[in-house]
Symmetry: C2
Subunit: 560 residues, 2 copies
C-alpha cells in the first residue's frame, strides 16, 4: 500500500498540473481582476532547487542517532536533505512561499518512520528521556502550522506515520472498520469499496491527507451532510500519549459522562499520537446524481439551501452554493471542460432573454447532489427541484457528478501555479445561523476585499461559497486573490497573508460572527473570543499537562 507522496515544494504529484495552457482566457482574466503586471503573468518563478538549499546540520549527535536507529531500525530514521526539507512545513500559503524560496531555517533534525504502535510508544519514551520534541506527521497537508518545528532550541524529530497504513479489520455486519491512522484517503476508500462500503469522508486534501490527520484536525468532508463530519464517523480512537495509551469511545451507542473521544478528535497531536481508529461505514451508493442550479441572487440561493437542509425528508450528499464571483472564477477555470462551458453558454442563452430582471452580477450557483438508490435519488431531486423553483432558480446542468469528481481536489494544484505567478491566495471560513448568515457573509467578503487592498495587494478578487449546512446555519468559505508584495521575500509574503487574515477575523467577530478555526488548535485561542473568558485555554492546558507533562509533543502556532 505505497503512497504517492507530495513533491517537496507544493501540492500533489508534479505530473498532475491543470492544463491552463489550453485556456486562452485564463491569464488575461486573472490579470484584469488582480491588476497583475505583465511580467507576473509572463514569468513563472520556479521553486529554488533542492541542491541550492543549505540546511542546518542535524542537532542529533551520533550516539543519539544510533540509539534511535537501534530502536526503530536503520531504514526508519532519515536525516537526509529531501526528508528534512520535505517535513519542514505543511501546505499553508506561508509554508509554500517559504519553501519555494528555499527558506528553511528550522527543519526537523530527523524524520522517524515507526512501524507500529509499539514503535510510537518507544519513540515517545526515547524523546522524553532526551528532551527532544516530537511532531506527528500524517499526509503533510496541514495548513495550521503544526508541522513546523518549535524554535525553543530543542532538537526535533518528525514522526512520519506513513507506515501505519493498514486496514486492520472490517466488520461488514456492524459496518465498522479498525484502521491505522497513517492510511491516506484513496488507499482507505479503495480497501473499503472492495467490500461495498465507504467512509464517505472527502476533504479537499483527500488524495494525500491521512485518517490520523482528519481526526487530529476535526476534519469536515465535502459530503458531510450525508456521511457526517469526521467526529461522527469515528467510533473510537487509540492515542499513544507520553503517559500511556488512551482509548476513547468504544461503544456504538453514546455513553454517559464527559466525552473524551471528542477531546481527542481535534487535538492536533498535542496530547498524543493517534495510531488507530474505529470508523463507522456506509454502503457504497448505487447512484450519484449531482446537478447545477442557478439562482437569480445569492440570497435566493441561500433561502433554497436553508429550506432544503431544514426539510426532514431530504438528505443531500453535497450542497455547495457559489456566489457570483465564485461562479465567474469556476467558469473561467473550467473553460476547457465541456460541462462548465455548456453552463457558461447557458448563462447567456437562457437568462438574458428570459428574465429581464436578472442581473448576472448577482447570480449564485448551487451544486446539489444526492447519493443512494436510483428511485430514492430521483424522488429527492423532485422534492429539491420544487424548492429551488420556488426560489427563482434555473436548472442548468445534470450529470455533474463526474465533473465534480474531477474538480473537487483541483484547487490546491492551481494554488501552486498562482503563487508562482506572484499571486497572493488564501481561504478563510466562517459559520453563522441562518438568521445572521447573509450579514456575516457580506461582512466577510467586504472585509476581505478591503484587507487585500490595504495590504498592498491591488484591487483583489474575493469569491465565496457556502460549503456546509445544517438546519441551524451554514459555513462559508471565502477565497481571496491579490498581488504579492515584498519582491519575493518569503517573510513579507507570509506577513501579507497574515495581515489579511487578522483583519478579516476581527471584522467578522466584531460583527457578531465567528471564524472557523480550522487553522489549528492554538489559533482558537488567539481569536478575540472573550466569551470563553480564558477558561477554554485553562481547561485545554490542564489536559495537556496531564497527558504530556514534559511537553514532548509540540503543536505549532504559526499560520499564513
Amino acid at each position: 500500500m505505497a503512497r504517492s507522496h507530495p513533491h517537496w515544494w507544493g501540492w500533489g504529484r508534479q505530473d498532475h498540473r491543470p492544463p491552463l495552457e489550453e485556456n486562452p482566457d485564463f491569464w488575461p482574466t486573472i490579470q484584469k481582476w488582480l491588476a497583475l503586471p505583465d511580467e507576473a503573468v509572463a514569468n513563472e518563478t520556479p521553486p529554488v532547487p533542492l541542491d541550492e538549499i543549505t540546511l542546518r546540520p542535524t542537532r542529533l549527535d551520533d550516539p543519539v542517532l544510533v540509539s534511535l536507529r537501534r530502536l526503530l531500525g536503520e531504514e526508519a530514521v532519515r536525516v537526509d536533505k529531501p526528508a528534512r526539507v520535505g517535513h519542514a512545513y505543511g501546505q499553508s500559503y506561508g509554508d509554500l512561499v517559504r519553501l519555494r524560496a528555499g527558506y528553511v531555517p528550522n527543519p526537523p533534525d530527523a524524520v522517524a518512520y515507526p512501524a507500529d504502535q509499539r514503535d510510537v510508544a518507544a519513540l515517545l519514551s526515547w524523546a522524553a528521556e532526551r528532551d527532544i520534541a516530537l511532531i506527528p506527521y500524517g499526509g503533510g497537508t496541514s495548513t495550521a502550522g503544526r508541522l513546523e518545528p518549535p524554535t525553543d532550541g530543542r532538537p526535533v524529530v518528525t514522526l512520519d506515520l506513513s507506515h501505519l497504513n493498514q486496514v486492520l479489520s472490517v466488520d461488514v455486519r456492524s459496518r465498522t472498520a479498525r484502521v491505522q491512522a497513517g492510511i491516506d484517503g484513496p488507499s482507505l476508500e479503495t480497501h473499503l469499496n472492495d467490500q461495498g462500503l465507504t467512509l464517505g469522508h472527502f476533504p479537499q486534501s483527500f488524495e494525500f491527507s491521512t485518517l490520523g490527520g482528519w481526526v487530529a484536525t476535526r476534519s469536515v468532508g465535502q459530503q458531510a451532510l450525508t456521511y457526517g463530519t469526521i467526529d461522527t464517523l469515528v467510533q473510537a480512537v487509540r492515542v499513544v500519549t507520553p503517559v500511556g495509551i488512551l482509548t476513547a469511545g468504544d461503544s456504538p451507542v453514546e455513553d454517559a459522562g464527559p466525552n473524551l473521544l471528542q477531546l481527542l478528535i481535534g487535538s492536533e497531536g498535542a496530547y498524543g499520537v493517534i495510531t488507530e481508529a474505529v470508523l463507522r461505514l456506509r454502503p457504497l451508493p448505487a447512484v450519484r446524481d449531482y446537478r447545477g442550479v442557478l439562482f437569480e441572487s445569492w440570497e435566493e440561493g441561500l433561502e433554497a439551501v436553508r429550506v432544503i437542509v431544514q426539510e426532514s425528508d431530504l438528505r443531500p450528499a453535497l450542497i455547495a452554493l457559489f456566489d457570483h464571483s465564485a461562479v465567474a472564477a469556476y467558469t473561467l477555470l473550467n473553460h476547457e471542460q465541456r460541462g462548465l462551458r455548456r453552463m457558461a453558454d447557458a448563462l447567456g442563452r437562457y437568462i438574458k432573454p428570459r428574465r429581464a430582471d436578472f442581473s448576472p452580477g448577482d447570480r449564485a450557483l448551487l451544486l446539489l447532489g444526492f447519493e443512494g438508490e436510483g428511485g430514492w435519488t430521483a424522488q429527492q431531486w423532485r422534492q429539491a427541484g420544487k424548492i429551488c423553483d420556488e426560489c427563482h432558480s434555473i436548472s442548468l446542468l445534470r450529470n455533474l457528478s463526474q465533473h465534480w469528481a474531477r474538480m473537487r481536489y483541483a484547487l490546491p494544484y492551481l494554488r501552486d501555479i498562482l503563487i508562482s505567478h506572484s499571486v497572493l491566495v488564501g481561504t478563510l471560513g466562517t459559520a453563522a445561523t441562518w438568521a445572521s448568515l447573509p450579514r456575516i457573509y457580506a461582512t466577510m467578503v467586504g472585509a476581505m476585499k478591503g484587507a487585500v487592498i490595504a495590504s498592498g495587494g491591488g484591487p483583489g478578487y474575493v469569491m465565496a461559497h457556502l460549503s456546509h449546512a445544517c438546519a441551524q446555519g451554514a459555513a462559508i468559505q471565502a477565497t481571496f486573490l491579490g498581488r504579492q508584495v515584498g519582491d519575493g521575500d518569503p517573510l513579507a509574503l507570509q506577513a501579507q497573508w497574515e495581515t489579511v487574515r487578522q483583519a478579516v477575523a476581527e471584522a467578522v467577530v466584531s460583527a457578531g460572527g465567528r471564524m472557523l478555526s480550522y487553522n489549528g488548535l492554538r489559533t482558537v485561542h488567539t481569536l478575540p473570543d472573550d466569551r470563553t473568558n480564558g477558561l477554554r485555554e485553562r481547561v485545554l492546558r490542564s489536559i495537556k499537562e496531564s497527558l504530556d507533562p514534559l511537553d514532548i509533543l509540540w503543536s505549532g502556532d504559526r499560520r499564513g
Copy 2:
C-alpha cells in the same frame, strides 16, 4: 411556569397511580413469576410519614444562613424538613428504599433557589469562602447518586435550579432556542410547540427532569433516532464554574479543536452549574404513525431492526424491540388497556393456528414509529414493512402512538408500587455492535437471572428491550425483578441491588461487552475497563482541578 414537583418519597404526583386494581391478573402473575409470599402481595408497606423522620439540625449557623439569605433573598433559602428531605436523594432504587424507610442520615443543610445566573455565581463564591459543598439539583430524577450529600463533614447546600425555567428566545428561522437549564420537559415542549417546533427529547423521566439534568447526564431520549441524543441537540451551553463562566460551542457548524461542549455535556455538575443552553429544534411532525410488529424470535427481530437502521432511506422516530419476557410483562401490565389486550388476543388468534413452528416463548415485539408528513410516513412504513416481512414478522397493531404516549412514562410510577410490595426492581443497560449483540444480550439476561437468585431474590424475572440503535449496533436495557431481602432494612435492600448490578457488569464486561454507564460520572471509573489504563480518570481529574480547584461542586458516587 410553575412545576409539579415529585412528592418526597417517590415518583411523580401522588394522584397519578397506575390502576392495577382493575387488573385481576396483575398480582397473581407477579406472585407466580417472583414466588412472592402472600403477605407481600396483601400488604403494601407505606413510606414512613414525614413527621416521624428526625432530621439532623442544619450545620449552617445563623450568621452563615443570614449571609446566604442576604445574597439570594429570604424566600430563596429553605432549611425546613420537607425541603431538606425532598432534596436528600434522587430516584434510584437505593434512594427510594432509604427514603421510604425514613433513613435520611445525611440531608443537605439547606436548599437554595437562585433566581438567575448571577445568583448562581454568587452562591459559588459564597460556598468557596466557607468551604461549603454545593449540589446542583434539577428535577431530582437522577439515578446516579449525584444528589446525595457527601459525608466528608462539610456542610452542604443543594442548589435547586427550578427558578431558572425560562425560554429566553426562539429563532424560528435558524431553529434554535436559548433556554434556561431549570426548565422541565413539559414546560419546554409546550413553549416550543406553540411555535410549531419541538426539541424531540423524551427520556422516561421527561415529566419531571430538566434541560440542565439532560445535559449534565448526557441523556438519550426515546426518539433519539430521529431527533438525536441530547449531545447532538445542544448547540451551546453556559456553565458557571467556580473560576468563571465557561461557554462552549456557539457555532451551528462543528468547529476545530478539542470539543469542550462534549466535555461539559455529561459532566454531571462536577465542573460547574449548567445555567443555559442553545438547543437545535425541529418542526412538529404532522403525523405520528406507530405500529406493533411481532417476530417469531428475538433474533429475527434484531435482524429486522439492524436492516431498518442500516437502510439509509429509513428514519424511524422510535424503534424498540421487546423480548418475550418483556412482551409478557407489558401485556400483563396493559390488560386494562384496549390496545394491548387486542394484541394479547391476537397472539393467540393469529399465531397458533397459522404457524405451527411458532414458539410463543421466543417471540419479540417491535414497536416502530415514524413521524413527519403523512405521505412520507406511509412510504417509510411500506419500506419498513417489507423488511419486517422478510424477517418472519406479523404486523399486529396500528395506531399505537397514543398508547405509546400513555405508556412511555408509566414505569417509574409502577416501580414505587412494586417496591411497596417487597419487590426488588432495577434496570441496567449495555451496548454492543450488531455482530456481538445477540451474545451480549444473552450474557446480560443470563447473568441478571443468576445474580437475582444468588442475591436471595428468588427465581426472579428478567426482561429486556433494545432501546436505541444505530447502523453500528444497539443498546439493550434489561430490567430485573425479584424478592427483597433483609426484612425492610434499607441498607440491606440497597446492598442486594448493588450485588446484582456488580455481578451483571462483571459478566457483561468479561464477555467483551460494555455496560452503559448512565449511572453516573464516577461509576464510569469503577467499571473494570482496563483499556483506559487510568488515563481517562487522570484527564477528568485534571479538568476538575482546573475548573473547581476547591472541590466545591460535589458529585456523588453512590448507586443502588
